[in-house]
């Protein structure tokens, strides 16, 4: 096949479309899944430059991806980690989103949920309305407010009712209330890891365990989750632990309102497939093909395979079949496995990906040939091939740049959110009046009051069950105590340019590793900025995960000019963001101080120098404690001058052995 690289996209369409078209037409809705075939074709596709592509395009990777794609796939596209068929034009994307919606509406709890990436707006509203229509009218739908507390989420003590009744009254949490329904989480990209883990646990078990505020119980909570991902760049996404539980991914960023024409399925039409679902069987061949596809696409978690299986069942039920067939398998694999791909299936497709766009063979001819080929190849090959076509083009570009999307992204950004609510670690409570910033510890107050209730009842009072009022006096008040611990984020700004690489990038890496080890001991967060070539990049947003820090450090490339000013700017940005969150930052700058690229990437030593001093002044204004490690072979005046301009502590590398380094950083941290 490698000699006919261009037949890949069209071959992919073939197995899905004709089968879907023929067999599903008796299905309930007009132009429903039958319209799956991306009718946009090759010619008309460029007529839909999705509006989202401008916003979400992953920077420089877009042109590369375009260039690398076979012509048939060069369509409007958007985020690099494009969910469902991100390479399709708007109208087709919407149709695909409707198919996903239909499957989800048939088996919401089996599929777990949907990650819907789109900005708030009419298109997203339309999708949500469609979902409301497709689900049975009785389905509970609850919105998950951002920053929800544990008591509201999981359950706990109903304070008002408790005080009124004079006995503890339990409040059900939102998840238990939504049992049997759908929870909608807006701004899901900002969900912090703790909340993600709670939600994931409930999604896994279908029940919520409450062990809070005097209550211990297990309540049913069979819910599905629609995570509304409003992230606008690569880093902002739904936490991986949560996204893993949600089978479907939909991206509506590239859909304009006028393209969202496909109507929603009707709830009444979905009742029959839903009822049929338990009777749908799945041949072992399909199961094997699904696993093989997951493996070929580098989808690691077995959950994805299971979800794909369930999606295939829902698709079969929709078509009124009691057995999953190939079309269902292809559809499910495309919807569930495609967006999760971390690599492209191995040969025969591989060579065509790396090659420049080949000449465009006539499409009809192509389909014929691949049609013949369909017959004698095993099912799994056909499924893999079909899904490979749906793998977003951004992934391809990323792979070529050696930047396969890493699992576990998205922790960094979200982690930042959690400190607003919880200042410091709770230290229990103490007696005292609330107010003036002190918060009443309700449970502790009630506990303090409890033993005295009998004494406090007015003498001779008639106890008429329930009429007794709780007597809380001033001396019962307990207030919360917290120990506030300011977090430190150590920002490493590493000069990875050629001059540096020639000398001792290796040694600098060693120094950074040593410092990282220290950060690990202190439980600091770490961020990494690197600068080389034309500019600077944030290689690692602030994180506590050492695994990630280690990984991004190991993959640190070297070479190129020294855009010193850009590097300082990027470091200043990170520092400002850290300070903005109320944390303290320490900057460790590793460079020889010899910039030769100006901010605009021009090789202009003089401008580079003046701009670097300008950036240094900005850093100084931020008041960040800085350590500059000079990596030039001999202590150089350039680096020392820079250190002075920033107000940094200056440490030439010949002196910077491990002990020195960590001593210097410790000093900086303790100075806070």
């Amino acid at each position: 096949m490698s000699d006919r690289p261009a037949d890949r996209p069209s071959a992919a369409v073939v197995p899905a479309a004709p089968l879907a078209g023929e067999q599903r037409s008796p299905g309930p809705q007009q132009g429903g899944p039958g319209a799956l075939r991306p009718t946009g074709g090759t010619a008309g596709s460029s007529a839909f430059p999705g509006p989202g592509s401008a916003i979400a395009g992953g920077g420089e990777s877009v042109p590369e991806a375009r260039a690398a794609m076979p012509p048939g796939d060069r369509r409007a596209r958007n985020v690099p980690d494009g969910p469902i068929g991100a390479s399709l034009p708007g109208a087709d994307l919407w149709r695909e989103a409707m198919v996903a919606l239909t499957l989800f509406a048939i088996d919401p709890h089996g599929l777990g949920g949907v990650v819907l990436r789109a900005r708030a707006g009419p298109v997203r509203d339309r999708w949500m309305d469609a979902l409301a229509e497709a689900l049975p009218a009785s389905t509970v739908r609850r919105r998950l407010p951002s920053g929800i507390g544990d008591t509201r989420l999981l359950g706990g003590l109903d304070l008002a009712a408790t005080l009124a009744a004079g006995r503890p009254v339990a409040a059900r949490g939102l998840l238990a209330e939504a049992d049997g329904g759908v929870v909608i989480a807006p701004m899901a990209e900002r969900i912090e890891p703790g909340l993600a883990a709670r939600l994931a646990g409930v999604l896994d078990r279908g029940e919520v365990r409450v062990e809070r505020e005097g209550f211990g119980e297990t309540l049913p909570a069979r819910v599905a989750l629609v995570a509304l991902d409003e992230g606008c760049d690569e880093d902002e996404r739904v936490p991986a632990a949560l996204a893993e539980r949600l089978a479907l991914r939909i991206d509506l960023q590239a859909v304009a309102l006028g393209q969202a024409i496909e109507p929603a399925p009707d709830a009444a039409d979905l009742a029959a497939p839903r009822a049929m679902l338990p009777r749908v069987s799945c041949p072992d061949e399909v199961l094997q093909a699904m696993c093989a596809t997951a493996l070929a696409l580098g989808v690691d978690s077995p959950r994805a395979g299971l979800q794909a299986l369930r999606a295939a069942r829902a698709a079969a039920a929709l078509a009124g079949r009691t057995q999953v067939d190939e079309a269902d398998a292809v559809l499910a694999a495309r919807l569930v496995l495609g967006p999760r791909a971390t690599r492209l299936p191995p040969a025969p497709e591989d060579p065509s990906e790396a090659a420049p766009p080949p000449p465009d063979p006539p499409a009809a001819d192509d389909e014929d040939r691949s049609g013949d080929a369909q017959q004698d190849r095993p099912l799994e090959d056909r499924v893999i091939e079909a899904v490979a076509a749906a793998v977003p083009a951004g992934l391809l570009a990323a792979l070529q740049a050696g930047l396969a999307p890493r699992a576990g992204r998205g922790g960094g950004r979200a982690e930042a959110a959690r400190r607003g609510k919880l200042r410091g670690r709770p230290l229990g409570s103490r007696a005292g009046a609330p107010g003036a910033g002190a918060r009443l510890a309700v449970i502790d107050t009630l506990r303090a009051a409890a033993p005295w209730q009998r004494l406090r009842q007015p003498a001779g009072a008639v106890i008429d069950g329930g009429g007794r009022r709780l007597q809380v006096r001033r001396e019962d008040f307990r207030i919360r105590r917290y120990r506030e611990r300011v977090r430190t984020t150590t920002v490493f700004a590493v000069d990875a340019s050629g001059s540096q690489a020639l000398h001792r990038l290796g040694e600098a890496k060693g120094a950074v590793e040593r410092l990282l080890a220290d950060c690990y001991v202190r439980r600091d967060q770490v961020a990494l900025v690197t600068f080389r070539g034309p500019g600077a990049e944030l290689a690692l947003p602030p994180t506590r995960s050492l695994t990630r820090a280690r990984r991004s450090l190991a993959g640190l490339p070297g070479g190129g000019g020294t855009p010193l000013a850009s590097g300082l700017d990027a470091a200043a940005d990170v520092v400002a963001a850290v300070q903005h969150r109320g944390d303290s930052a320490v900057l460790v700058l590793i460079t020889d101080g010899r910039g030769n690229l100006a901010r605009d990437g021009q090789a202009d030593r003089e401008r580079a120098r003046s701009e670097a001093l300008e950036a240094a002044a900005t850093l100084r204004a931020l008041g960040v404690r800085t350590l500059l490690i000079d990596t030039s072979p001999r202590p150089a005046p350039a680096a020392e001058a820079l250190a002075q301009a920033i107000g940094a502590q200056y440490l030439p590398l010949p002196l910077a052995d491990a002990g020195h380094l960590s001593g210097a950083v410790r000093q900086l941290v303790s100075a806070s």
């Binding site: 006995r167 077995p302 395979g305 506990r447 280690r550």
Partner: protein, 348 residues
Amino acid sequence: MASVFPFTAIVGQDEMKLALLIASVDPSVGGVLVFGDRGTGKSTAVRALAALLPPMRAVTGCPYGCEPSRVAGLCAACRSPGKTARGRRPAGEPPSALRPVPVVDLPLGATEDRVVGALDLERALADGVKAFEPGLLARANRGFLYIDEANLLEDHLVDLLLDVAASGENVVEREGLSIRHPARFVLVGSGNPEEGELRPQLLDRFGLSVEVKTPTDLPTRIEVIRRRDAFERDPEAFLAAWAREERRLRRRLEAARERLPSVSVPDGILEQAAALCLKAGTDGLRGELTLMRAARALASLDGDAEVTVAHLRRVAAPALRHRLRRNPLEDAGSAGRIERAIAEQLGA
């Protein structure tokens, strides 16, 4: 309660299963830490273990599930005479009954009062009685305490758990209550390193540490999905199909527990264990102790009367892996080092 996926039906992940079995044969091994990829059946295995374990004998009505034959380990209520209608305890053991071994799930978002136990608010408010309401630690006594996503648990709860797990006793001093009760449990923690690391202090408290990875070969993956799918579609039939395997493993566990006190550890093996720890560079003596206990439990599981080098070899990695002085940036983690040390010391 919803039916639980059977332990024996879990595909692969042998090291994790073995570690859990060892901990249930000999709880003194310490806890088990399961760290690794998502979707590898960490939670499934722990919950399955609850269904697998043979029931235990406990004093009737005791909130802590005291073991009637172990006088020293009884809680205050079981120890005090007058608890039973017959009066003095020395006349015989308190009445007891079989109950399932507790495997208590510590959910994220649990509050401290529910974990350690607190004043019973209901009774305090309604009757003005000062009564202690036991928490999760009481319920976990003699069983397992499971923390999913251990790295996301609030720090103050982690400290508290460590303290209790180390002392085997829960001391409650709050709201005018002064209670102490036995709380001996096997701590089982799971998590994903991508979400953040565990503190070294916590790491060291776990006896065994297991790394789980997603299987990468196709047949295994197919089998995982096939079984899971079969279970979800018809839990009863699936459980029935695996009942025999479960029974067999349960019997093996029971036999292993009985055999354990009689399993001997030759001096040569002790020397080997010490040399291995030295070679691997583990901190402290806890590693050697765990290594020896785990090897003994394994020998017992295998039905052997004496610990051999083969047993040592199989438990060395989980017993020592997390105790190496850490170079946090070593790419292969500590796995490579420990395996080298094992190969050198114990032979391939």
